[in-house]
Amino acid sequence: MPPEKSNSKTDIIEARCIVESAKKISGPVLFSSFPIAFLQGVDPEKGTVSDKKSDIYGEEFRGKILIFPNAIGSSVGAYVIYRMVKNRTAPLAMIARTADIITASGCALAGIPLYDVSEQYFYALEKFDKITIEGKTGIIRRFGSRNP
């Protein structure tokens, strides 16, 4: 893991880039505390988590930056990620606490930018409403105004 820096005043987090994006990404955060099972745990037609126990059950990924600890379950999950892009229900980007082979291969194929961050910064991201990500470097900034 490369060193990651955070500055609490400017809210900058350096994430590791797994699948890069040529462009800067900006959008609201959709934060899941629970791991995501892409196969059988995600509805690719709607682009939502279909597990009722999830804290983001039913919330649309589309137009958002999906942040979650890690993926679990079947390896066919990679096609579900690809499928969401074809359905236009996919998130703008994903940030994982621990990116894994299912998420990485699915995102690479589907062209969804993917980053991962250390545990400390992962939980810091939960408090962010909107963020921007530098597509190639993975530098994350809090975006827009938000009163402390």
Partner: protein, 399 residues
């Protein structure tokens, strides 16, 4: 990560879209795992074959790849599909499904797969020497390869295994390296010490696919990384090993288990309490209308055992048995399959019990099985209740 000239060219698209995508996937995984290089592989095993799992978008993707000049560069096997390819029309498979399934199969065949549709590929083809690098998707098979066969593979995804098949390489990281094949947590089987629950005084004999499946499911839920089992006994049957690997891969991300007594790692207990908890979590019915055997698919050893215990018996309800066509062929030659069929069971070859439209089309509300992995998925995919029972209990209670 230093790329060879040919790899750079492939990434830039010089060798076509298929290889470009394949190398993109490999590069993302290399970044993910901090790998410095790729490693040539002896065998790729690709998942994502049933139309029920990959759907139209997986199908479209495979059509695009197979229509190009791309071919599998190494020996490649693929997972089960959703139906018996030869006699699907006798088995209530909707024809729209069958049509799409046959297309997917033709794409894989065009890419150059060995003619097998199986989640236990080690049953039908000769296994390379221990230590060989392979790239297997299908979590149960990958865990089996690492833990039982001494091969080296990460838990590949459908896509990463396809990338490996197309390039003949995988990323040299994680379970390919010695230092990552050591356990970081242990699970101790402790049934003797747990007799403090008076209601469960019946001493449990820890054997058979159900026991090992429950152990695997619990381990998958509560551990990460390589897990060490203690007190499992020195010898397991292939059915038990397969059940353990299947359940371990169903939940959690573990890619390998070991047996031993490593010092300095956390040790969790697995006793009656954990056994019952896990059983009650998955099994939500006392009995079922349909018996399902073969998740993961039956091995020849299991078909032998099944035929022995079914000699002269008849099932009182419908029973389906899932295995590959290659294993079925062997079972036919040895006379096992005829005994099983005489008992009233139906073989479904080259298909997966969890991802076939068959179970839904049989219109049953509940299924009996000895497979923890099968119960987990059938409940979710087919919306049935599942009764998890020991193999012997299933036979004695239903014949």
């Amino acid at each position: 990560m230093i790329l060879k000239k040919s790899e750079e060219k492939a990434l830039s698209g010089e060798y076509g879209e298929a290889l470009q995508s394949a190398y993109r996937v490999l590069l993302a995984i290399a970044r993910l795992t901090n790998a410095k290089r790729f490693v040539p592989i002896d065998w790729a095993h690709v998942s994502g074959v049933s139309y029920l799992t990959i759907g139209d978008y997986g199908l479209d993707f495979l059509r695009r790849i197979s229509a190009s000049k791309a071919k599998f560069k190494v020996f490649t096997t693929v997972n089960p599909c959703g139906m018996d390819i030869e006699c699907w029309n006798e088995l209530n498979i909707p024809s729209e499904y069958a049509e799409k399934q046959l297309k997917i199969i033709s794409y894989y065949q065009k890419l150059g797969t060995a003619n097998s549709f199986t989640c236990v590929p080690f049953q039908s083809y000769s296994v390379p020497n221990a230590g060989s690098h392979i790239a297997w998707a299908e979590s149960s098979a990958a865990i089996f390869a690492n833990s039982v066969l001494g091969l080296r593979t990460n838990r590949e995804s459908a896509v990463s295994a396809l990338a490996a098949a197309l390039t003949g390489k995988t990323v040299y990281s994680d379970l390919h390296l010695d230092e990552n094949r050591k356990p970081s947590i242990a699970l101790k089987l402790s049934f003797e010490e747990r007799e403090s629950h008076p209601e469960k005084v019946r001493k449990r004999k820890f054997s058979g696919p159900l026991s090992f499946g429950l152990l695997g499911y619990y381990a998958g839920k509560h551990t990460n990384g390589v897990v060490e089992f203690r007190g499992m006994g020195s010898r397991q049957t292939i059915a038990e090993q397969k059940a353990l690997c299947g359940a371990l891969g169903t939940v959690g991300s573990t890619g390998m288990f070991t047996q031993g007594k490593t010092t300095g790692i956390e040790v969790l207990d697995f006793g009656n309490k954990e056994y019952e908890e896990t059983l009650n979590e998955i099994s939500d019915s006392e009995t079922g209308e349909l018996i399902v055997f073969g998740c993961p698919q039956m091995t020849i050893e299991e078909l032998y055992e099944l035929s022995k215990s079914l000699q002269g018996k008849k099932f009182q309800k419908k029973c389906v048995v899932f295995c590959s066509s290659k294993v079925y062929e062997t079972a036919s030659k040895r006379g096992y399959s005829s005994i099983i069929e005489s008992a009233g069971a139906t073989f479904v070859r080259d298909a997966c019990a969890d991802f076939t439209p068959l179970i839904s089309s049989l219109n049953v509300d509940s299924v009996v099985t000895d497979s923890v992995k099968g119960a987990h998925y059938m409940k979710r995919v087919h919306g049935v209740k599942t009764a998890l029972l020991d193999t012997k209990e299933i036979i004695s209670g239903n014949t």
